[in-house]
């Protein structure tokens, strides 16, 4: 029997957010994903960082898969495992071979996004012994629990082999002895309840048509026969927003208890992740032949770059980002009636810590770097070397002046020259 998971998609047009099986999904590249995970490990050490990441994947994937399976009643465990594996591959995370029963088993992974992405980005110049695929591990244990109607946290998972240390493939062990957990997260109903009314910004006449074209284009993008989405010069995933947010929120809580001196650096590194996302993913798309075919090659006009990036953020499900003010080479003010991060913070995070907020401010800096630091004609190489040179000499600073996670009416970040 074939299951069309696209029937479980829901789009909130007013807020430019996307849901699959009732869970928010966003597009992110391997540069962002690796940096995000690395920051969790930097905060807590590799062992605890990995546990937080597996737990975050477990919680968010359980919620996703429960939502998908509930949409297709009367499925067998084998069919449910098939839904889980095909969804994983379609989202660009690689191939999972789930040889698991009620009490666990062994999962083989091919082209798993994090390990594959790490090898792609760092493999030639660094060594790594700690496994990279916590998301796949958490997803595998959640798939097993959902397949056999087990309570979340009945089982646990660990990655026993990973290609980052030279192994030929990845292997994940799912076994008994998990810890009870609550697979909470954002859903469309609660999102609609708490998100403020939407609004437009400047240059909507430029942005809206591009968003529509992008959504058409991206709607047809899925993992290839390896479960990999290679596009725009990066490895792209459709990812669970709850994964990022659970991981960062859990780390923040631990830091607040055990290492409060690290919170400032932690938040700054989340912003850095957002900056890397904007540069690599937005920049990669803007420099791509696909963009040239859809919109035209960027001429280098800063406004053209800024509006293009805002359109991309919307199409990627980050939220209805808007331009409140833009003065070329001086200032960018971006607003939004919620992003996938601040929505999670509003609904799930503790009031004192307000959860993560990296993508909106970080992307603000990244967008200004793309608009003013890149020569767009002829077509530039959006690569690590260019990113490093721009990041090292970046004249931009950012301030978050309003956020819905604190109960305010909108998210606003102001990017200015130092």
């Amino acid at each position: 029997m074939k299951f069309d998971i696209s029937t479980t998609r829901e789009h909130l047009p007013d807020h430019q957010m996307d849901f699959l099986g009732g869970s928010p999904v966003v597009a992110h590249c391997h540069h962002f994903n690796l940096f995000w995970d690395q920051t969790m490990d930097d905060a807590l050490g590799v062992e605890r960082g990995e546990k937080v990441r597996i737990d975050a994947a477990h919680k968010s994937a359980y919620k996703l898969l429960r939502g998908l399976v509930d949409a297709f009643p009367k499925t067998t465990p084998v069919e449910r495992l098939g839904i889980a594996a095909s969804t994983f591959a379609a989202m660009g995370h690689g191939k999972l071979h789930l040889a698991v029963g009620r009490s666990g088993g062994l999962v083989r992974g091919d082209y798993l996004h994090y390990g594959f992405g790490w090898k792609e980005k760092y493999g030639g110049r660094m060594t790594r012994s700690a496994p990279a695929d916590a998301f796949a591990a958490g997803y595998s244990v959640a798939a097993t629990e959902v397949a056999y109607d087990l309570d979340p946290g009945t089982l646990k998972a660990s990655e026993e082999k990973c290609i980052v240390d030279g192994s030929t493939g990845c292997e994940i062990r799912v076994s008994a002895g998990g810890e009870s957990l609550l697979p909470q997260g954002v859903d469309p109903r609660s999102a609609k309840e708490v998100l403020p009314p939407t609004f437009d910004g400047m240059y909507e006449e430029r942005i809206v048509p591009v968003v529509a074209g992008l959504r058409d284009f991206l709607g047809g993008v899925a993992g290839d026969n390896r479960g990999v989405i290679e596009a725009f010069g990066v490895l792209v995933t459709s990812h669970l927003a709850d994964y990022y947010n659970h991981a960062a929120s859990d780390v923040l809580q631990i830091l607040a208890r055990e290492k409060p001196a690290g919170i400032e650096a932690f938040r700054a590194l989340l912003v850095e992740a957002g900056q890397a996302c904007a540069f690599h993913t937005f920049g990669g798309v803007l420099a791509s032949p696909e963009w040239e075919g859809m919109v035209g090659a960027p001429s280098g006009d800063p406004l053209e770059i800024v509006t293009g990036c805002i359109a991309l953020a919307r199409a990627f499900g980050f939220g209805k980002w808007a331009i409140e003010e833009f003065v070329p080479n001086e200032r960018l003010v971006m607003t939004s009636p919620g992003t996938y991060e601040t929505l999670f913070s509003r609904l799930i995070s503790s009031d004192e810590l307000r959860g993560p907020a990296g993508i909106f401010p970080g992307a603000g800096i990244g967008i200004m770097q793309l608009a003013h630091g890149v020569q767009w004609q002829p077509r530039p190489n959006i690569d690590g070397t260019l990113y490093l040179s721009l990041a090292r000499s970046s004249p931009w600073s950012v301030e978050e002046t309003s956020t819905i996670s604190a109960g305010e009416a909108l998210d606003r970040v102001v990017v200015t020259k130092r």
Binding site: F35, D42, M126, A261, A265, L269, L388, S389
Partner: protein, 221 residues
Amino acid sequence: MSNNELEALVSDIPSLRACLIIEAQSGALHRSFRRGSVPADPDAAARALAQLARAQADVFGTGEPASLATLEWTTETVLLRSVNASALMAFYFPADVKLGLARMHVTRVLDRAGSLLPVAGQATVLEIPAVPAPAPVVTSAPPPSPPSKAASAPAEVSAGRKLIDYLDANAPDTHAALLRVSLQTGLPLSLLKTPDELSSAEFEQVTQSVQRILGVEQLSL
């Protein structure tokens, strides 16, 4: 100040293979920029170039700054410039770069290098050995000559700075590397930006953090 700033200063000279800022009196390497492989160990080269500058002053019987030595080798040309009484700069170009062009680049860099140069009176004091000493290796335990907050010996101070400079030169996403060290160690960024101030325990923490970031068990500084 870091190697990053030196890199920013010279990165628009595509033919430049390496640039060293050397403390004139001690021969200690103050800052370095390298692009691709460079034949000599930078520390050893710095000491030798400082000796050469002093010998040149003896030849001409003057300690005037702004002297210039040009070393033409089969594969490369090295321009050594005495910037002031405290600082030397050496520039490595491929041998096929025209001397006039190389000199023009050197002049441009010297005009803008002021803030990167060692400050008179704060230069690291090292004995120049007749035979260059092997490069030190820093391991997690015990660290070699860890600086202490109470330490007054400048040679110890440079260990912390060398560690951070090494991180700067080798870390992935270099611009974020200090933040990562801060998060891993819990040490404030302001302290990491003045690595001379690191205590022994802090130096050890930072060393372990640098090893973790670079994915290595020991560091060859």
